[in-house]
């Protein structure tokens, strides 16, 4: 087939994912061999090159779902729904990576697998809400109705974020404060900062690759059902 648009998108996504995975291999090389080991946390600190990046990719994915969902309701362009679906699913994958790596660090450093503090609670609720989002999608047959209903949930999720954060913040917080994205200079050695930034870039690229592939798959499914 020469005019297989979905296939072209999927192949493009695979190329981007390939580059991202190569970058990720470099990140882990840097993390293990070219970044200092933190004195009090020891090797557990190496999570810094996985966990915040996965969290970033996941929250970015969910944020984009909110925006493309709003776009869908305003413009009713089917492609925006296909994109929302792709981004929500990829965000869920990164979300699971974030929620599984977090406790591995929390256990040795906090002495507890889990803490009910703002960031943990917020991300857990968002991941659960997007599991609900996926469940809702599978429970509706009509594609137009599915697009509208899931767009509503996508927008609602985005608005829920500040409320969960603020309410649990008023409750308590023990999560490490941002060490990089904050007003003053980064409170980390440059070798660590460099690896973290590189890791975040690699995860962002991985997101782009995954979403492109998933979008292509969504396109193909539409073609087949049409």
């Amino acid at each position: 087939m020469t005019t297989d648009a979905a296939g072209t998108i999927i192949r493009r996504g695979m190329v981007i994912t390939g580059i991202a995975l190569a970058a990720l291999a470099c990140v882990y090389g840097l993390a293990l061999f070219a970044s200092p080991t933190e004195r009090s946390q020891g090797l557990a600190q190496k999570i810094l090159y996985i966990h915040p990046s996965a969290a970033w990719a996941s929250l970015m994915a969910f944020g984009i779902v909110g925006i493309t969902s709003l776009g869908y309701l305003l413009m009713r362009d089917r492609r925006l729904d296909t994109f929302s679906e792709a981004s929500a699913e990829v965000g869920l994958a990164f979300g699971v990576a974030m929620l599984t790596t977090g406790p591995m660090w929390g256990r040795p450093v906090w002495g507890a697998w889990w803490q009910w503090e703002p960031r943990l609670t917020l991300t857990l609720l968002l991941v659960l809400l997007f599991v609900g989002y996926q469940a809702l999608r599978t429970a509706i047959d009509d594609p137009e109705e599915r697009a509208r209903f899931s767009a509503v949930v996508g927008i609602m999720a985005l608005v829920l974020v500040p409320f969960v954060h603020l309410s649990v913040y008023m409750f308590r917080t023990i999560h490490p404060q941002p060490v990089f994205l904050k007003p003053s200079a980064p409170s980390m050695p440059w070798e660590m900062t460099r690896t973290l930034l590189f890791s975040m870039a690699a995860y962002t690229l991985l997101y782009v690759g995954f979403v492109t592939m998933r979008y292509g798959i969504g396109k193909r499914r539409e073609e087949q059902s049409a």
């Binding site: 609670t121 609900g132 809702l136 429970a139 109705e145 509208r148 927008i155 969960v164 309410s167 649990v168």
Partner: protein, 225 residues
């Protein structure tokens, strides 16, 4: 018909149907009492006193009973094919939303009004002076998540596993008001000064306004065609 009259007419219709059958409220109240009973036995009396558990029990029971009530919100329209009639009626989507919202609020508040005395009775709490504030907190908290639930129920009623879909989507939104409600209630029951709960009350008011407006704006998207 003016939008205001249409809103009231839709709310009155739901309330009349409920008064005729009393299914939703009776079921939700029974459910709430059963949850209270389970909570009482789901603790070691020697370890956890009723007073410590009381605020959580009140709020969790209230939220669960609210969701059970909301699940019925659009079920009648679906079961008897009345949704088309409602949509064909010469009333705006906003009138349908606010009519449904008022009716749902009425049901949930009745359930809460039955729940609160039973809670005081079963859990042996003395609310001297705090009763009015706790009632206000319950009103503010339910006003927010019922606004969201009314909009979500309009969608979930048309999906498979609708009775399960509503709680799965709604419970994430119920977390902030329940968290705030438990914190404020604990302080009130502990005899803390009112100044300590002002921040929580303000939070609930902002939550209510934001989600009522958002749900109202999104509601037409759940009703197309």
């Amino acid at each position: 018909m003016s939008p205001f009259r249409a809103t009231l007419a839709i709310a009155a219709k739901d309330i009349r149907v409920e008064l005729a059958s009393r299914t939703a409220i009776a079921t939700a109240v029974t459910f709430a009492v059963l949850v209270l009973v389970i909570f009482n036995f789901a603790r070691d009396p020697a370890e956890v006193s009723l007073a410590i558990l009381a605020p959580s029990v009140l709020w969790v029971t209230s939220a669960f009973a609210g969701i059970v009530t909301l699940n019925r919100s659009f079920a009648m329209e679906r079961e008897r094919g009345a949704m088309d009639g409602l949509l064909l009626a010469p009333v705006s989507r906003s009138a349908i939303y606010f009519g449904k919202y008022i009716a749902n609020m009425a049901f949930v508040l009745v359930v809460n009004a039955v729940l609160l005395p039973l809670f005081i009775l079963f859990f042996n709490v003395s609310l001297t002076g705090a009763l009015g504030w706790i009632a206000l907190l319950l009103l503010l908290a339910t006003a927010g998540y019922v606004a969201i639930g009314t909009m979500l129920a309009a969608m979930t009623v048309r999906t498979r596993f609708s009775e399960l879909m509503l709680p799965v989507l709604l419970l994430s939104f119920v977390v902030p008001p329940v968290l705030v409600g438990v914190q404020a209630t604990t302080r009130l029951l502990g005899g803390r000064p009112l100044s300590e709960i002002v921040g929580w009350v303000r939070f609930l008011i902002v939550y209510d306004i934001v989600f009522l407006v958002l749900s109202w704006l999104l509601f037409p998207a759940t009703m197309d065609e």
